[in-house]
C-alpha cells in the first residue's frame, strides 16, 4: 500500500483518536495506523486533566476539545467536577467521567446504597465502610446466572447491553431498595453497566434513582467502552484505519513516509505520533549497559531519526554512574513524577515535535515529555496536534 493523505496518525488510543477526529473535522484526509490496545484500553473511567489530589479549578478545556469529546460520546464533564467511588475504597475528585460511573457529588439528601453481590473484588460492606457514613450496603440480586460470579468485568458488563437484561436488573434493584426499608438517593454497583454504550442513564430511569458503577480495574469495562466509542467516532468520519505495526517515520521527497511491518508504507503531509508512553508501548525501557558502552535507558519504539527523548526539559542523558539511574528516580511517585512517567518527546504548545526534530511531525498523549499521564490531557493534546497537523500547509516535510 502507498497512499498519500493529509494527516497520518500513529496510534488509536485517546490521543490518536482525538487527533484523527479533530483533523478530519477540519476536512483533512486522515489515516490511523493502529496496533494492539494500549493504555487507553486500561482506563478506569475517571477523566483527569491533572493530579486529582491537587486543587482544581475545573478541567479548563477549550471549546474545540469539548466538541470532539462530545462527538466521541459516553463521557460527562460536570461544571464543577465529579466525585467518583473507587474499588480501593476512596471517594475521589475527577474532572469528568465515563457516563456509566456514579457521580456522588450532588448526593446529599439521602444515602447511597451499595449493592451486595458476589462479584470478584466487590465487598459491599467493606466499601461502604471505607467510602463513609453516607454509604450503606444492601442486599441486591445483580448476578443472574452462576457463571456470572466469576466473569471478567467486560463480559459481565456486556450482558447489560441487552435491554431485557437491563430491565431485569432494574426490577431487582427496585425490589432491593424497597426491602431495605430506607430511602436512598443513589445506587452504586460493581463495573457492569454496558460495553457498547454506558447503560447507567437507562438503568437510573428504570429504577427511579441515579445508578452507576464504581471505578474498576485496568482492562475492565471502562476501557472497552472507550474502544467502542472510538470505533463509532472514527467510522463516522472520513478516517481510514490500518491495522498493523508502524516501524518508522521519516521525511521523504517533501512529505512523510511511515514504514509498516510487512513492507507497506503510508505517505502523508503531516504525521501525529500518538503511540503512547512506557505503558502504551511508544517508549521502551532498555536494560542498561555498564560504562564505557553505556546507553540511554529509554528509546522510542518507532524509528524516527532526529527525534530525541527528554525529561524535565532536557534531552535524556546517558547515565554516568556505574550503577545506572537510581531506582528512586525511575519508579515511584515522590514529590515529582518518576522518570518512567516523564520521559517522552518534547513538543511546543501545538504538539509539534520540538528540539530540532523535523517539521510537520507532531506528538500527543503519553508520548509527550513531562506531561501528566491523564486521560483529559492526552485527549486535549490529541485535539491540538490533530488541528495543527490538518492546518499545516501542504508543502511537505522540511519546508517550514
Amino acid at each position: 500500500m502507498s497512499a498519500m493523505v493529509d494527516v497520518a496518525v500513529v496510534g488509536a488510543g485517546v490521543a490518536g483518536t482525538a487527533a484523527a477526529a479533530a483533523a478530519s473535522a477540519l476536512g483533512a484526509s486522515v489515516i490511523v495506523v493502529e496496533d494492539a490496545g494500549g493504555a487507553s484500553s486500561m482506563g478506569t473511567g475517571a477523566l483527569d486533566a491533572g493530579d486529582w489530589q491537587l486543587a482544581h479549578a475545573g478541567a479548563g478545556l477549550e471549546d474545540d476539545v469539548r466538541h470532539v469529546l462530545e462527538a466521541l460520546g459516553g463521557y460527562v464533564l460536570p461544571a464543577h467536577g465529579a466525585r467518583l467511588l473507587t474499588t480501593a475504597g476512596v471517594v475521589r475528585h475527577a474532572d469528568g467521567h465515563d457516563a456509566a460511573l456514579l457521580d456522588v457529588a450532588n448526593v446529599r439528601a439521602a444515602g447511597v446504597a451499595v449493592a451486595r453481590c458476589p462479584r470478584p473484588g466487590w465487598d459491599a460492606d467493606a466499601l461502604a465502610h471505607a467510602w463513609g457514613p453516607t454509604f450503606t450496603a444492601i442486599d441486591a440480586t445483580v448476578v443472574r446466572k452462576t457463571d456470572e460470579r466469576a466473569l471478567p468485568d467486560v463480559d459481565f458488563a456486556l450482558r447489560h447491553d441487552d435491554p431485557e437484561r437491563l430491565g431485569w436488573l432494574a426490577d431487582r434493584l427496585k425490589e432491593a431498595l424497597a426491602a431495605s426499608g430506607s430511602r436512598f438517593a443513589a445506587v452504586v454497583l460493581p463495573p457492569s453497566l454496558g460495553v457498547d454504550a454506558p447503560r447507567a442513564a437507562d438503568l437510573s430511569g428504570r429504577v427511579g434513582v441515579p445508578c452507576g458503577e464504581a471505578t474498576g480495574l485496568p482492562g475492565g469495562a471502562a476501557g472497552a467502552r472507550f474502544e467502542r466509542a472510538r470505533d463509532r467516532l472514527l467510522s463516522s468520519g472520513r478516517v481510514r484505519r490500518v491495522r498493523g505495526r508502524a516501524l518508522g517515520v521519516a521525511p521523504h521527497a517533501g512529505h512523510w513516509s511511515i514504514a509498516l511491518e510487512g513492507g507497506a508504507s503510508i505517505e502523508a503531509i503531516a504525521v501525529v505520533l500518538a503511540t503512547g508512553g512506557l505503558l502504551g508501548g511508544g517508549i521502551e525501557y532498555v536494560a542498561q549497559a555498564l560504562p564505557p558502552q553505556a546507553t540511554a535507558p529509554f528509546r522510542l519504539t518507532l524509528q524516527c531519526p532526529g527525534v530525541e527523548l527528554a525529561a524535565a526539559g532536557r534531552v535524556l542523558d546517558v547515565p554516568s554512574s556505574l550503577f545506572g539511574l537510581p531506582g528512586e528516580a525511575l519508579a515511584w511517585h515522590n514529590e515529582d513524577e518518576p522518570l518512567l512517567e516523564r520521559i517522552g518527546v518534547r513538543t511546543d504548545a501545538t504538539g509539534r515535535v520540538a528540539g530540532g526534530g523535523p517539521p510537520g511531525l507532531f506528538a500527543a498523549g503519553d508520548l509527550v515529555a513531562d506531561a501528566a499521564r491523564t486521560w483529559l490531557r492526552a485527549f486535549a493534546s490529541g485535539v491540538r496536534a490533530g488541528t495543527a497537523a490538518a492546518r499545516r500547509p501542504a508543502h511537505g516535510a522540511g519546508a517550514d
Partner: protein
C-alpha cells in the same frame, strides 16, 4: 493494589485509626515494594511499573 488498600483499612479499623491513615499504610507498603523491585527492572517490568503507578494514582491517590 486493592489488597494493600483493604489491608490498610483493616489495620486502621483494628487500631482505631482514621481512613486517611489506612491509605497512608497502603501507600507505604506499595512504595516499599516498588523500590525493592526496581533494581532488577527490565523492559517488560517497566511497563508493569507504569501500570501499577497509574492504577494506584487513579484508585487510591499517591499523595499522602
Amino acid at each position: 493494589m486493592r489488597c494493600a488498600a483493604r489491608c490498610g483499612q483493616i489495620i486502621a479499623e483494628e487500631q482505631d485509626l482514621p481512613p486517611s491513615q489506612a491509605r497512608a499504610l497502603a501507600l507505604d507498603f506499595l512504595e516499599r515494594q516498588a523500590r525493592a523491585r526496581v533494581v532488577a527492572m527490565g523492559p517488560v517490568q517497566a511497563r508493569q511499573e507504569v501500570l501499577s503507578l497509574a492504577h494506584a494514582r487513579a484508585s487510591l491517590g499517591l499523595r499522602r
